[in-house]
């Protein structure tokens, strides 16, 4: 294949990661930030699929093909699958944390929810909640 199609997946992956990182760096809203993290992660999907793809090959299922037919790399597919699971876990966990932070801080702005710094409220009035996770 031509040089363009060879380089394209890597260029797209790098661009996606850069754009996602820019989004995280400038985000003013945690939910937007979680979305940007998802964009960063899509970069890894594109990279892995681009690395494993073979032009003119079949999917690695040999049920109706003779063994030895050129196939795309099944290991990369396994990696992407795991990556998707990891991504789902992280997104769910981050959204839970965001919801809880909103309940307590009343804001989704990272600038207002800085750990232990002015800008957020003190935890003094809620100290009776400490040591006990919410149900």
């Amino acid at each position: 294949m031509s040089a363009v199609t060879n380089v394209l997946p890597y260029a797209v992956a790098a661009w996606l990661f850069g754009v996602g990182l820019y989004g995280i760096a400038t985000s003013r809203n945690f939910i937007h930030l979680v979305g940007c993290l998802g964009v960063c992660q899509s970069a890894t999907y594109v990279l892995l699929l681009g690395l494993g793809y073979r032009w003119g090959s079949i999917a690695p299922i040999f049920y109706d093909h003779p063994p030895g037919t050129p196939a795309v790399d099944p290991v990369m597919q396994a990696l992407v699958l795991t990556d998707i699971v990891v991504g789902a876990t992280l997104t769910a966990l981050l959204l839970v944390l965001t919801v809880q932070a909103y309940k307590r801080g009343g804001s989704l702005d990272p600038g207002k929810l800085r750990p232990m710094r002015a800008g957020g409220q003190t935890d003094r009035d809620r100290s009776s909640d400490r040591g006990r996770p919410a149900a």
């Binding site: 960063c40 944390l97 932070a101 600038g111 800085r114 750990p115 232990m116 935890d123 400490r130």
Partner: protein, 584 residues
Amino acid sequence: MTFVPATLLPLTVAIPMVFCAVLLATAHLLPSRVPDILALLAALAVAILSAVIAVQAADKPLVYWFGGWEPRDGVHLGIGFSVDAASGWIAAFIGLLYALTFVFAWGFFDRTHGHFHILMLLFLAAMVGFCFTRDMFNLFVWFEVMSVAAFALTAYHLAESSLAGAINFTVVNSLAGFLMLGGIGLIYAQTGTLDFDGIAAAVAQGGRSPVVAGAFCLVAAALMIKGAIVPFQFWLADAHAVAPSPVSVIFSGSMVSLGLFGLAKVSAVVFGGSDQVQGALPALLIGLGSVTALLGGWMALLQRHLKRMLAFSTISHAGIMLTGLGALSAGGTGGMLVYVVGHGLVKGALFMIAGILLATQASIDEIALRGLGRRIWPAGIAMALAGFLLCGLPLGALDQGTRLVQGALSQQGHGIALAATAIGAALTGAAVLRAAGRIFLGLGPDPGDEAGAPSADEREKANRPLWLMLAPCCILLAVDIVLPPDLIAHALPRAVSAFTHRPETGPLGEGPGWLPWFSVAAALAGAGYGLFRKRLPPVLVRPVHVTQSAPTRALEILHSGLIGDYAAWLAVGVAVIAAVLAMV
């Protein structure tokens, strides 16, 4: 039937996982102390099994292939565990740290249906798997399991500070996971295998290749993020300061150093055959390590929130470990491995003392706690001892690790890095000793720059007797002191050779004997300056005050707590690693 030690390997991961599943299914039915007991037993079992494995692996690494998928004709399809003596002992140390943490946290989390124990056991299984695996993708999986358990544990209290800290931690470490996966994809595309040895052979044959360098850049960045190396260190202070204190013990004692342990393994074994990577490592690791050691130490000295101070101290010590790694010699790597254990023991004890203060005095603020520690004076003795060990008192495993690292650095003429290790240790020791003096002796009426540092009111449950919390802390310190230096010095050269897959060298050299004493003296001077600033003649105080105030404020602004800034610094860090690799 003969006893095959290799069959023990999967048990070290399976046992905590099985306990985890059992607890998850039954914890709501069990009486409240049963999860404590089960978790303690699981951690002890892991520690003992790992020690047995480490002894068995002294001559030759043990290898176990899951499902019997052994490599055939040089093709690695299966996933394996491979344990050399060093990895085994590190896993045994982690098991011990968990067991003592479970004792420390006895009854700490009441109405939780054992969730704390479940997450902790998952965390333990991931750490042991991370130590034992010989497969790049498996390494990534353990890395992620470790991260997810850690994220959930950080936010355990669900208070505002801990949520904000946990979000910063999660975002930065997720990015680390993505970088690592990208690097693993690249190295697989280049070499066609995920097995450490398989990749190493292919890399050694392949010659100079930008793909290998790129893969190393991404994987190294990910592990350095875990290891809290400048400029990736920001998440650590936020996360460690707000996590429940038993969790902070594990974070600082083992999670951070495991990142560097992974980096040691990957750079020595997997990328050992790449001249480009090996050429870039000394400048990269020693440079970043020295900066980290100094910056972490300085930041530690400026804190008033005890856990945040200890967190910055961990950053400083991670930097010292990295310089040992950067020496690329048996002495440096061996010193770093001993340092991981020694540092974990001492730092774990210090976080336990912070937890004791939180539980008994209901505060974690050094200035608010002034003089309040008198009633619990035994904790003060432990804190002072830990502070002296931290800054380099020539006693115990931490000191042995320090000497070996310094020996490797001085052998190769890295004078600046040598000074950075001594000064970094002195600064963190000074911070801990100053806090001990202020809290337990009531010294120092005048807080200086640390008065303006961030702090938050915290409280942890006061339902445990002092001796129950103090006992595990004292055991940690005792283990650090009684670990036999001769035995370690004797076994280390062979263990390092098996760890790095390099031929064995002679006995390992130690650094100059006066250097640890210099660190102790400097730490005492620093702590004294912090406490008695008012009583010193102004001729002494003013120049120090004038020169350090501006950079101090700049540093505190830099550690802004804003996740956006951290992401930007992360990009800078990856660019620095790539630039150093490109220059070789």
